[in-house]
Every structure is written in C-alpha cells, then in structure tokens.
C-alpha cells in the first residue's frame, strides 16, 4: 500500500487543475503582453485567473502579483518593506524563530545590511501571541512578518490579532500563508493583512507558481527586473498554465474547504491519538490551533532519517526535521525553536494528510510507525541507556 502523507511538502495536482491548464498550452499559448488577438486572449485568461484568486483571499485583482512560488513572494514582500522602511530611517523587523528559510534567510541577509531583526520566541505553547508582537514593536519597526501556520509543526498563528496590533501601530504586516491558502479561510481585509505569500502546489495546484497579495498603496521593489508584467513589479512572461492551474486549485480548495477539513481533521486526530500511545514521544506544535492535516511527533532514542527510510519501505511517504535529512549536523530550527533539545529533535516525524487520504491508510500508518520505532529503538544504544537508567528520559 502506497500512502502519501507528505502533503505539506507538496501535493498531487488535482484533475480539475490539470484540466484547466491544458488550454493554456494548446489554445491560449499567446504572450499576454502581445497586442494581437492570440496574445490578448491569453491576457483575458490571465486577468480572469487573477480575479478568481483575489476573490479567494478577499482582495482586489490588482492587489495580486504572480511569482514563481512562495519563496519569491516572501523575498519580495520583505525586501520591499525593508527598502521603504529604510528610506524613513526605520530598520527594525519583527518575525518569529520558526519561520520558513525563505523568510529567515532573507532576514539574515538584511541583518548583514544593517537591519535589526527581532525573532519572537515560540517555546510557550509552540506559538506566539499578538501581545508578543505588540511588545516588540518600536518606533523604527518597518515590518512584522510572521507565518500564518508553521510548515513543520502545524501551529496556526493568531493572524487576525497580529494584524490588528500592526494596524494600530501603523506597521506593515506580511504573512507567509503557504501552508494555509486553500486550507483555512483567509480574508486579508478583515484580518488586516498587508502582504501575503502563497504557493500553488500546496493545495493541489502546479509547482513553480505562487502569488503575493499586496494591499493597494504599499510600494514594492523588484526581485526580478524585466518587462512590464505584473504592473512592472515582476519581470518575465507570465506562467499562464501555472497561474490558471493555481486559480482552479485554489477555487476548488476554498469551495470544498469545510467539507474537506471535517474529513482531514478526523484523520489527523486519529493519527495523533494513535501515535501518542507510543511511549516516550511528544506531539510538536499547538495542539488546539493546528493545521487540519499536520501531525508532528518526536520519538526519543531514535533518528528520523532511519524512521523515514523504514516507513518508505512500507509504502509510507513522510518527512522529518532530523539533521540527516537536511544534510547538516543540526536538526530542524523549528524543533529547536520550540525547545526540543538536539537529542530528541533528531527523532522527529511529520505526517501531513489531505482529503484524498483514507481511513485504511491511517490504519496502515498506525500499524507501521510503532513497529518501526520499536525496531529502531531495539538497535539504539541511546534507548538502551534510557532503559537501563544510565540516561534520563527527556520525553
């Protein structure tokens, strides 16, 4: 049995999204910037997709900029706020310790350019509060950027409250909503979100395409210089098939969200309840405010890559924040940020389910994971020391 439980990494494109893309290869192959009929037909398709995506987010079509994905959108949003903040002498940015690297690495680069970065602590409840944001805002803060939900541990941040705090302080607020678009209801106006990044392939759309919502009036700098596409803010001929596929997938995801989430949450909760029975493990992430499909655990005494390989041999596709899966010596910065020590952070497992997963698949996972954990523990000198009392249990 093949069980794909890595939907936070990427999703399978939906039949409808794929079908929606085909005419963009065969009929609407024109360049939307061309003046002729074929080009203008493509432009109409592009405008239509932009309007439909805007509707899903509660914004205007002209507030949507298409990008190559979530990372580019994050880079552009942060770089823009930093550039225009610096012009006013504001060079302080607030973010969180468990952001995606698209955000953290951009902030690292800005730090080298003279910006001061405050990363909010996420140990308490594996989340942040709007109060933390409020307390961190200074006269010279030019941007608050927090993810909408964490990709590894599933915590959903109090975005509307953070938005309200930022609005009151007059500080632009960007959120990386890559894990949330198509999974939770977004209303950028009601939630006071000034900028939002999303990525097509996280909600059964195609890869290589994303979008940045930017509230009208907020200025942008270019990451990609070029032609007049995207109102001059993102050069390069538009990826029309990708954009149209993303629009179809997002519309479907939003239309079926409540129905899908009821199913996905039930599968998630069954997994969490089942895996919690394994001794000396811990659930990572906010147990209440949690992405519908995210399950994240640390198992003491074992290492995550071995776990993934053995699960893969049983047909289960999962992910881990262990060092060995990242190619570095350190385990995931997210697990360290929530206070997991290295020893247990190495033994992490993330399962991310979607509406296409079945009860049978969850049962298969719930049979396989305890077996594999036991097998690996039985060959682990760390586990032996824990059992012999030579080492103290952390979990």
């Amino acid at each position: 049995m093949q069980v794909y439980a890595d939907n936070a990494a990427t999703t399978k494109i939906s039949a409808h999204a794929l079908q929606a893309m085909m005419p963009c290869f065969e009929k609407f192959y024109g360049n939307p910037s061309s003046l002729h009929t074929v080009g203008q037909e493509a432009k109409e398709v592009l405008d239509d997709a932009r309007a439909r995506i805007a509707k899903c987010l509660g914004c205007e079509a002209r507030e949507i900029y298409f990008t190559s994905g979530g990372s580019e959108a994050d880079n552009q949003a942060i770089r823009s706020a930093a550039f225009y903040g610096a012009r006013k002498g504001k060079k302080h940015i607030i973010s969180t310790a468990f952001e995606h690297h698209a955000v953290l690495h951009t902030l690292n680069a800005l730090e080298k350019e003279g910006f001061e970065i405050t990363l909010l602590d996420v140990k308490e409840g594996h989340n942040i509060t709007a109060r933390q944001v409020k307390d961190a805002i200074r006269e010279d803060t030019c941007l608050v950027t927090t993810m909408y939900a964490n990709n590894e541990i599933g915590s959903v941040l109090p975005i509307a409250q953070i938005g309200a705090v930022c609005k009151e302080a007059g500080v632009p607020f960007h959120t990386d909503a890559v894990q949330v678009a198509g999974h939770l209801h977004i209303d950028v106006k009601a939630q006071n979100i000034d900028m939002l990044s999303l990525s097509g392939h996280k909600f059964h759309g195609p890869k290589g395409v994303g979008a940045l919502y930017v509230r009208r009036g907020l200025p942008l700098v270019n990451i990609i210089e070029g032609g007049a596409q995207e109102r001059g803010k993102r050069g390069g001929t538009e990826n029309l098939p990708g954009i149209v596929g993303m629009a179809a997938a997002l519309e479907d995801a939003c239309a079926n969200m409540d129905k899908n989430n009821a199913k996905v949450i039930a599968l998630r909760d069954k997994l969490i309840a089942g895996l919690s029975k394994i001794p000396h493990c811990a659930l990572n992430g906010d147990p209440v405010n949690r992405l519908p499909g995210n399950v994240s655990f640390c198992f003491e005494g074992i290492e995550g890559e071995s776990l993934l390989l053995m699960l893969d041999a049983q047909g289960i596709c999962a992910s881990s924040g262990s060092a060995c899966t990242s190619g570095s010596l350190d385990p995931s910065h997210v697990l360290l940020a929530i206070g997991r020590v290295h020893d247990v952070a190495h033994g992490s497992l993330r399962l991310s389910v979607c509406h296409e997963n079945t009860e049978e698949e969850i049962d298969h996972i719930l049979t396989a994971v305890p077996q594999v954990v036991e097998l690996l523990r039985n060959m682990s000198p760390v586990w032996r020391d824990l059992q012999n009392g030579k080492r103290e249990y952390i979990l």
Binding site: G301, S306, L309, C324, M379, S380, P381
Partner: protein, 142 residues
C-alpha cells in the same frame, strides 16, 4: 536515483550483527546524541581473533548500514586486520555513500578502533596510541 546504493539499503533494512555481547572483551562507543549519531561496538576476542562482534547504532540509514558492513568486515578476522580497516574500505564495500554521509563510515572505523583500544587497555597490552583516533578531542561530536 535513490539516495543510497542497494548494498546500503540491504544492510540498513537487514542489519547484520545487531545487539550486545555480555562480558565483551572490548567496547567502543563514538558520536553523541546531540549530533544524531552514536555507534557502539562490542567485541569478543580469543587468541587475537575477533570471534564475535555486535553493534548498536542510533543514527541515520548510512550509520546503521556502515555499522553492519564494518562488523561483517572484521568478524572472524585477526586484530591486526581489524586495525587496518579504513572508512574508505567500509564506504567502498557499501558501493559508496553520499558525500555528506561519509562521516558515518568514519564513525564505524573509529568505533571498531575504540573497541580494540578498550580491549588492549583492559588486558594491559601495550600499543602505539597513534593508531587510534583521539575521540575525546575530535571536533566532530564535541
């Protein structure tokens, strides 16, 4: 192409010589849980021959496969042969390891040498300290 060779996957999925030896003649342990790899090797030695070897490993697929392969390579061999086992030989026998996983084969070599050093120490046998890794002062895990 898969991350690991078929030989690595075979030794990972079906590791040889897993376990411990009671009253082992030599025990070597390298690595630490913080960096995600610990290898522990147990040796039974009779007349300078490694008559039995077992291992326990906390680590990734290549760490487990390296332990398994390395124990196979020294089982039944004289100590003098085991001392000559290099990380390169372990990696080669595994049909290669990804570059960022080569340290796993280094750990296997060091764990075996550590166990042999322990055997020498326990039995008051003199040896040239230079042929053993200085695990206490190595940067890899500290």
């Amino acid at each position: 192409m898969a991350l690991y060779s078929e030989v690595v996957m075979d030794h990972f999925m079906h590791p040889r010589n897993v376990g411990t030896i009671e009253n082992a003649d030599g025990i070597g342990e390298v690595g630490n849980a913080k960096c995600g790899d610990i290898m522990k090797i147990y040796l039974k030695i009779e007349n300078d021959i490694i008559v039995d070897v077992k291992f326990e490993t906390f680590g990734c697929g290549s760490a487990i496969a390296s332990s398994s392969m390395a124990t196979e390579m020294i089982k039944g061999k004289p100590i003098s042969d085991a001392l000559k086992l290099t990380n390169d030989a372990v990696a080669e026998a595994l049909h290669g390891l990804p570059a960022h996983k080569l340290h796993c084969s280094v750990l296997a070599e060091e764990a075996i040498k550590g166990a042999l050093k322990d055997y020498y120490d326990k039995n008051g046998i003199e040896y040239d300290a230079k042929q053993f890794p200085d695990c206490a002062h190595c940067d890899h895990c500290h």
